[in-house]
Amino acid sequence: MPLVTTPQGTPTWRLRTTRTQWLQYLGWLAGACLFLLCWKAISDNTMWVFVEDAGRQGSDLISRMLPPQWAYAYRLWKPMWDTLNIATLGTLLGIAMAFPVAFLAARNTTPHPLVRSAALMIIVSSRSINSLIWAMLLVTILGPGVLAGIIAIALRSIGFIGKLLYEAIEEIHPTPVEAISATGAGRLQVMSYGVLPQIMPAFAGISVYRWDINIRESTVLGLVGAGGIGLQLNAAINSLAWSQVSVIFVMIFVTVLASEWISARVRHAII
């Protein structure tokens, strides 16, 4: 907290020294320049004619979406069921794969530092790649359908569950682990009786949380052919049937809100 003496000789308090103040101004200036540069790049690639009538296009779109064609909803139950299955089975498969990875990645349970870095690498790659990209790849490999969606969701979930779970494993209390090893328990017995009970609540919470995110993500996987309600959405958009699109939006909205509510209730009950 610097003091500056005025010409009259009275000391006054200021928040920053002149130097830090200038550095801060420079930082803001550099940030603003970078932002404007990026904005320029975007604006060069934009057809401003289209943007000018965005308001008209938007109101046109809404007028086509309303009223929703409710009769279409009865054809959506099967795709909705598929979407729920993609999310749930994908989460279960993801958990099954993430569980060993998390134990290999946690500093206190890993067998070897090299194994640890390999496990961390798996977690990072799975987290960096969006489930839609996984789905695009799997559709070309496995063919379109629900299976590609399930595996895409599972592959994306490994990173999320693995990361949160290995952090939970690293934060466990060492005393129960020591107590169990003192009885002469083997490595797996220590895991099962010393480590597992401590991470179980965190694990259940993380899984339910990821399930909720997966419901949200599985609604769009159909856009690239991986099954679920996204297929219907894609078909409706391609045939410009906007009154059907709005029915699909309402269904997605309700499903996602319901899953969020369930996941919040379950997490509240566990923790």
Partner: protein, 269 residues
């Protein structure tokens, strides 16, 4: 027999996770029925899967020899577009999320504003970025502008929700202290609320920057600019070595982002 006596007789068992046996078995039976129904309804074309297996191996092999060169121009342009979209959308989204977040905090906003802001947050969080991108592409035309607006909209929901939760848990004594000096609303926000939420706001913005980059890699599929279009083309043309190169670049940038954001967070806290 009590648990103590059982343990002495050498019949100790660990406590079940769910105390109530009815609930426990009900959950198990329910889950098993669901799994049976779900697995029965999954249709798999095994012939197609077998046919694709060799392609899967090709893809894995492509990671050992990624091809950065032959589509270099497209990749560079796509990545640069993704990065510019990420940066501008994060700046705009964070700037807009601050008023929405203030409005969605129960302890400082009057109820009509509270419900309006919560509504914005719910809509923005429910729909995936790609669905919003479809609508904005229809409205604003193809290109990075639609993508930027999409990501900014998604950022508002994410940031405003977490910011509002943070404001709801803030230390109310500091607000009272500033109010007691006769400060008006702006001064209270600026000197009592803002310093308390600032470290978290910076941390979350860095995290969102990272998420926006990952998302910018997919919204190109529906024509909203960025690397997604290039990636989509390379995958559907089975040019897996180019796709592998793009995926490796994405992973590297995400890693870099995470590394620098952990530094920045440590520095602000």
């Amino acid at each position: 027999m009590s648990r103590q006596a059982q343990a002495q007789a050498g019949q100790w068992r660990r406590l079940p996770m769910i105390e109530n046996p009815k609930l426990r078995w009900g959950l198990v039976v329910g889950l098993a029925t669901y799994l049976l129904l779900a697995l029965a309804s999954v249709e798999v074309n095994w012939a197609r899967v077998a046919e694709g297996a060799s392609r899967g191996l090709n893809f894995l092999a492509a990671f050992t020899r990624p091809d950065f060169v032959s589509r270099q121009g497209d990749i560079t342009a796509g990545i640069l577009e993704s990065l510019t979209m990420t940066l501008t959308s994060t700046v705009i989204g964070v700037a807009l999320s601050i008023p929405v977040g203030l409005g969605a905090a129960r302890n400082i906003a009057p109820w009509p504003i509270y419900y309006a802001c919560r509504g914005i947050i719910t809509v923005s969080r429910t729909f995936q970025e790609i669905i919003i991108a479809i609508l904005f592409v229809v409205m604003f035309g193809f290109g990075p502008l639609a993508g930027m607006i999409t990501l900014a909209f998604a950022t508002i929901g994410f940031m405003a929700k977490l910011l509002a939760e943070d404001i709801e848990d803030l230390d109310w004594r500091q607000v009272e202290a500033i109010r007691a000096t006769g400060a008006n609303w702006w001064q209270t926000m600026n000197h009592a609320v803002q310093p308390q939420v600032m470290p978290r706001l910076i941390g979350l913005s860095m995290y969102r920057l990272d998420i926006n980059f990952r998302e910018s890699a997919v919204i190109g599929i529906v024509g909203a600019g960025g690397i997604g279009a290039t990636l989509n083309t390379s995958i559907s043309r089975y040019e897996y070595d180019t796709s592998a190169a793009i995926l490796l670049i994405i992973i590297a940038i995400v890693l870099l982002c995470e590394y620098s954001s952990s530094h920045i967070r440590r520095w602000t806290q």
